[in-house]
C-alpha cells in the first residue's frame, strides 16, 4: 500500500508540473496585456514598464517559469493581479465553498446514478431515467436558471443565490464547510440554511455525472447478472432484490467507480458555470473572474489545485476499486 501511495504521489508531481507548463505556454500564446489593464488608462508608459518589471513579466518565459517554480515549491503561488493578494490566500478563502458544493453534488450523483443503474438494469425506472436524462441534456446555465425560476421565484422554497443567509451569523470555522461547522457548533439553523442554499446548485451539478454513473452501472450489472454466481444465487431461490443487491452490485462496481473518478473532472468543470448562476462564492467564481481579467497567477494556482484534487480523488477511486473487488488484489 505504501508503494502504491508513493507512485501516486510521484505521478501527482509529474501531472502538476505538466499542467503548470501548459498554463505558462498558454499565457505566452494568448495575446493579452494584464499589466496595462491593471495600472489603468492614465498611467504613463514608465509606470507600465515598472509594473511589468516588478511582476517579472518582462523576462523571457523560461525565466518566468523558473521563478514561478522556485516559489511554488515553497508554497508561494505569487500575487493575484486582480485581487492583489497572494493567490494562496485567495484559494484558501474560496476552496471550502467549492469542496462543499462538489462533495454534495458527487454524493447526490452517486445516489441518483445508483438508483438509475439499479432500476434500469432490469428494464424498469423509466420515469427516473427520463427525468435525469432530460435534466442532464439541458445546458447547465439554462438548467440552473430553470430550477431557480421554479423553486426560487415561483414556489419560494429555496434562496435565490449565495451560500448562507448573511443575517445568521454562521460560524467561520474550523473546516470552512458550513454543514460540518454548523454541526460542530450545534447550529442546526445554519445546517438547514446551508442545505437550502446547496440544494439547487448541487442538483444542477449532479445530473450529468448521475446519468453517466447510472448508465455505466447498468451495463456492468447486466453483464454480472448473466454470470454463473448469479445463476447459483437464483437457484438458491433468493429474491431478485437480494440477488441484485447482495451478489450483483459488488462485482459490478468496478466500471462505475472508474466513471465516478472521471466524472469528478466534469463536476469541477461544471462548477464554473453553476457557481456563476447561483452566486456561489467558490473557486469557480474566482476562476471566472481571473479568466476575464487574464490574471495568470490566479489561473495557474487554481489549475494546480484542481489538478491535485482530481488526481487525489482518482487515487481514492483506485483504492475503493480494490476494496470492492478482491480479484484486483491478486494482481
Amino acid at each position: 500500500m505504501a508503494r502504491f501511495a508513493l507512485t501516486r504521489l510521484a505521478s501527482l508531481v509529474g501531472i502538476l508540473l505538466g499542467l503548470s507548463v501548459v498554463v505558462f505556454v498558454l499565457a505566452a500564446v494568448v495575446p493579452a496585456d494584464p499589466v496595462r489593464a491593471m495600472v489603468g488608462a492614465s498611467a504613463s508608459p514608465q509606470i507600465v514598464e515598472a509594473k511589468r518589471h516588478e511582476l517579472g513579466l518582462d523576462r523571457p518565459l523560461p525565466a518566468q517559469y523558473a521563478r514561478f517554480l522556485s516559489r511554488a515549491v515553497r508554497g508561494d503561488l505569487s500575487m493575484s493581479l486582480h485581487t492583489r493578494r497572494p493567490v494562496r490566500t485567495d484559494i484558501a478563502a474560496f476552496l471550502p465553498a467549492t469542496v462543499e458544493l462538489a462533495a454534495t453534488a458527487l454524493a447526490l450523483a452517486v445516489v441518483l446514478g445508483g438508483a438509475l443503474g439499479l432500476l434500469t438494469a432490469r428494464g424498469g425506472g423509466t420515469t427516473l431515467r427520463v427525468a435525469l436524462v432530460a435534466g442532464a441534456s439541458v445546458p447547465a446555465f439554462l438548467l440552473a436558471l430553470l430550477l431557480l425560476m421554479v423553486f426560487y421565484a415561483r414556489f419560494g422554497w429555496v434562496p435565490g443565490s449565495g451560500r448562507i443567509s448573511s443575517d445568521l451569523g454562521a460560524p467561520t470555522g474550523p473546516t470552512g464547510l458550513l454543514i460540518i461547522d454548523g454541526l460542530v457548533h450545534g447550529r442546526l439553523d445554519v445546517v438547514r440554511d446551508a442545505l437550502a442554499h446547496l440544494a439547487l446548485p448541487a442538483l444542477c451539478l449532479a445530473l450529468g455525472p448521475a446519468v453517466a454513473l447510472g448508465r455505466t452501472l447498468r451495463s456492468s450489472l447486466q453483464t454480472v447478472l448473466v454470470s454463473d454466481h448469479i445463476r447459483t444465487a437464483r437457484a438458491k431461490a433468493l429474491t431478485e432484490r437480494r440477488v441484485l443487491l447482495r451478489h450483483g452490485v459488488r462485482p459490478g462496481l468496478n466500471a462505475p467507480l472508474t466513471m465516478a473518478g472521471l466524472q469528478v473532472g466534469m463536476l469541477l468543470a461544471g462548477v464554473v458555470v453553476v457557481e456563476s448562476v447561483f452566486a456561489w462564492p467558490g473557486l469557480g467564481l474566482y476562476t471566472a473572474r481571473a479568466i476575464t481579467s487574464v490574471d495568470f497567477p490566479a489561473i495557474v494556482g487554481v489549475t494546480l489545485v484542481m489538478g491535485a484534487v482530481y488526481v487525489i480523488i482518482n487515487a481514492f477511486v483506485d483504492v475503493a476499486q480494490v476494496a470492492a473487488d478482491p480479484r484486483l488484489r491478486a494482481r
Binding site: 494568448v30 495575446p31 493579452a32 496585456d33 494584464p34 496595462r36 489593464a37 489603468g40 488608462a41 492614465s42 498611467a43 504613463s44 508608459p45 509606470i47 485581487t83 492583489r84 485567495d90 478563502a93 474560496f94 438508483a115 439499479l118 432500476l119 432490469r122 424498469g124 425506472g125 420515469t127 427516473l128 436558471l145 431557480l148 425560476m149 423553486f151 426560487y152 421565484a153 419560494g156 422554497w157 429555496v158 435565490g160 443565490s161 449565495g162 451560500r163 448573511s166 443575517d167 438547514r192 442545505l195 437550502a196 440544494a199 432484490r241 441484485l244 456563476s276 448562476v277 447561483f278 452566486a279 462564492p281 467558490g282 471566472a288 473572474r289 479568466i291 476575464t292 481579467s293 487574464v294
Partner: protein, 515 residues
C-alpha cells in the same frame, strides 16, 4: 422492488426540498426610515483601497465610505463642496487653496483636519497605483492651519479641480488607521479589505466573492443616511439578479440590465426603470496604422455605411442618442467638435470585398454584441467582409503593442474619470493615451491637447479641445456611435434617487429611501 426505489428517491428529494422550505428569509422592515437596502454587483470589486481601486463596479462602496475635497452636483458637471467648504485657484493656475470643513470626524472618531488630507494624498503618491496620476502634477502640499490645505502644482493642469471631484479622485482616509496598519506597504494590506473614511456609511463587512455590508455612520457631518444598512451581494449572473429583483430580494439593479427586456419591466407594477444622463460613450476605434483602414477615404465611407443613427435607435431604443460630438455630451459644447455620419447609398462597391476584423468587449446588457452584429451586417451589405470577435479587456490592451496584428476595428463603451474634456481626449486619442487601443497618432492633436492643458482661460482651452476633436473627426480615427443613458431598474418603493453623471452605475446610497 423496482417500484419502491423511485419512491425512495422521491422521498429523499422531497426531504431536501422541505428542509429548504423551512428556512425562509426574514421579512424586511417596513416604513420610510431604516431598513436594509439590498443591492448586487456582477463582479467582485477586488479591493476597497481608494488609492488602488480603478474600476466601475465598486464605486458605490468607495463613494459611500470615503469622501474627497470636492464632488459633483447631482445631474450636473458643476463641482460642489465636500470636505472642502470653498477653494481658490491662483491666477497663474498653480496654487490651489482649500478651506476645509471643521467638526468632521472619521468613522473611528479621529478628527478630520488638513494634516489628514496631506497624509492621505501623500499616501496615494507613495502607493503609486492607477489613480495616482491625479496627484502627480503636485509639487508641494502645505497645511498652514487645521482647516487650510494648499497644493502647489508643477505646471497648470486645467482639469485639476475635476480630479478632486472624480469618482476615483483622492479620498481622505483616517490617518490613525493608516498609522496603526502601516506595515511595510503604506497600509495597503489593511486598506485592501477595510475602510475608514468620513462618508455616510461604514464598511462593516467585506467578504470577497460574497457580500459587502455598509452600515449608517451616525456621526456623519452631513445629511445622514436614511437606511440602516446596505447589503451588496456578488451575483455574477444578470438573469439571477433579475429573478431576485422580481422576487423582492433585491431593491435595484444598477447596471447591465438586458436592453431587450427593459420594455417588459415597464409593465411590471412593482418595478421602475430610471435613466440618467452619463458620460458613457460607445465608440469604435479604427486601426489607422494598417491596411485597409490606413486610407482616410475608406474610413469615411465605412463610417457612413454603418448608418449609425438608425443603428443606435435599433439597439438602445430611447436609452441612447447618436453622439453629436467627439466628446461625451455635457463635457464640451458639441458645436466645437461635431460629428455626423450621413448614411451613404449602400452599394457593394464601397467595401470592394475588403476583409475586416472587428473586436468588441463583452457586456452583460447584450448591447455590445448586438451593435457588433448590426455593424457586421451593414458593412457586409456595403461590400466589406467583416469577422466579429468577442474579447476580454486585457486582450484589447495588448493591441497597441503590435498594431499590425491588431484588429481593424475595436468597440467599447468608455467613460472619462471626470467631467472635463481633457480627461476624455487625453486617454482616448492622445498618441500615448491609455485607452487609445489602436494607436491613433496625430502630432497636431497632441499639440493642441498639451496647449489646452496649460491654458487657464476656459474659453481658449475649450476651443483648442474642440479643434483637436475636429481633426480627429475629419480623420475618422474613431467612430463615435452613441451617448448611452445610465439605466437602472429599481423596486417601485425606492425614493430619494440621486445620480451624478460622472459616477456611472452608482446612486447616492445615503439619499435612498425604502418606502
Amino acid at each position: 422492488m423496482s417500484r419502491r426505489l423511485p419512491l425512495l428517491v422521491a422521498v429523499l428529494l422531497a426531504a431536501v426540498l422541505v428542509g429548504s422550505a423551512c428556512s425562509s428569509t426574514p421579512t424586511p422592515p417596513q416604513g420610510g426610515e431604516g431598513g436594509t437596502l439590498q443591492l448586487a454587483y456582477l463582479a467582485d470589486m477586488a479591493q476597497a483601497d481608494p488609492d488602488v481601486f480603478y474600476d466601475i463596479e465598486g464605486n458605490t462602496v468607495i463613494l459611500s465610505v470615503y469622501e474627497g475635497l470636492l464632488k459633483y452636483k447631482p445631474d450636473s458637471t458643476e463641482i460642489i463642496p465636500s470636505l472642502a467648504e470653498s477653494w481658490e485657484v491662483s491666477p497663474d493656475g498653480l496654487t490651489y487653496t482649500f478651506k476645509l470643513r471643521s467638526g468632521v470626524k472619521f468613522q473611528d472618531g479621529t478628527p478630520f483636519d488638513s494634516q489628514a488630507v496631506k497624509t492621505s494624498f501623500q499616501r496615494r503618491l507613495d502607493v503609486g497605483a492607477a489613480p495616482s496620476y491625479m496627484l502627480e502634477p503636485v509639487a508641494s502640499m502645505q497645511t498652514p492651519d487645521a482647516t487650510t490645505f494648499v497644493m502647489r502644482l508643477k505646471h497648470p493642469v486645467a482639469p485639476f479641480l475635476h480630479y478632486m471631484a472624480s469618482s476615483w479622485g483622492p479620498k481622505v482616509i483616517s490617518p490613525k488607521a493608516l498609522t496603526d496598519n502601516a506595515g511595510k506597504d503604506h497600509a495597503q494590506t489593511w486598506a485592501n479589505d477595510h475602510a475608514i473614511g468620513t462618508g455616510p456609511f461604514q464598511l462593516t463587512a467585506f467578504e470577497r466573492g460574497q457580500r459587502y455590508e455598509l452600515t449608517r455612520f451616525d456621526g456623519y457631518w452631513g445629511q445622514k443616511a436614511h437606511v440602516d444598512k446596505v447589503e451588496i451581494r456578488i451575483i455574477p449572473d444578470i438573469g439571477t439578479q433579475r429573478l431576485q429583483l422580481q422576487s423582492g430580494d433585491l431593491d435595484a439593479i444598477l447596471h447591465s440590465f438586458p436592453q431587450a427586456e427593459l420594455a417588459s419591466v415597464k409593465s411590471n407594477p412593482d418595478l421602475q426603470v430610471q435613466d440618467f444622463s452619463s458620460y458613457l460613450n460607445n465608440i469604435i476605434y479604427l486601426n489607422t496604422n494598417k491596411k485597409p483602414l490606413s486610407d482616410p477615404a475608406l474610413r469615411k465611407a465605412l463610417a457612413s455605411a454603418i448608418n449609425r443613427d438608425s443603428l443606435v435607435t435599433e439597439v438602445y431604443g430611447t436609452y441612447a442618442k447618436p453622439s453629436s460630438s467627439t466628446y461625451p455630451s455635457g463635457l464640451l459644447d458639441p458645436a466645437l467638435a461635431p460629428v455626423a455620419y450621413p448614411p451613404s447609398e449602400t452599394t457593394a462597391a464601397v467595401g470592394g470585398g475588403k476583409k475586416l476584423t472587428f473586436a468588441y468587449t463583452a457586456d452583460d446588457s447584450g448591447v455590445h454584441r448586438r451593435i457588433a452584429e448590426l455593424v457586421q451586417q451593414r458593412l457586409d451589405a456595403a461590400g466589406f467582409s467583416v469577422t466579429i470577435n468577442e474579447v476580454q479587456l486585457p486582450q484589447v490592451f495588448e493591441y497597441v503593442n503590435d498594431l499590425q496584428a491588431a484588429p481593424d476595428m475595436v468597440m467599447q463603451t468608455n467613460t472619462p474619470d471626470g467631467a472635463h474634456p481633457d480627461m476624455w481626449a487625453r486617454i482616448e486619442w492622445y498618441s500615448t493615451g491609455g485607452l487609445n487601443y489602436l494607436g491613433y497618432n496625430s502630432p497636431q492633436v497632441d499639440k493642441l491637447l498639451d496647449q489646452a492643458l496649460e491654458t487657464t482661460d476656459k474659453a481658449t482651452a475649450d476651443r483648442a479641445y474642440g479643434q483637436a476633436g475636429k481633426i480627429l473627426a475629419q480623420d475618422t480615427g474613431i467612430i463615435f456611435v452613441a451617448d448611452p443613458r445610465d439605466v437602472m431598474v429599481l423596486r417601485k418603493n425606492l425614493t430619494g434617487i440621486e445620480h451624478v453623471p460622472n459616477y456611472p452605475w452608482a446612486l447616492n446610497l445615503a439619499a435612498l429611501q425604502k418606502g
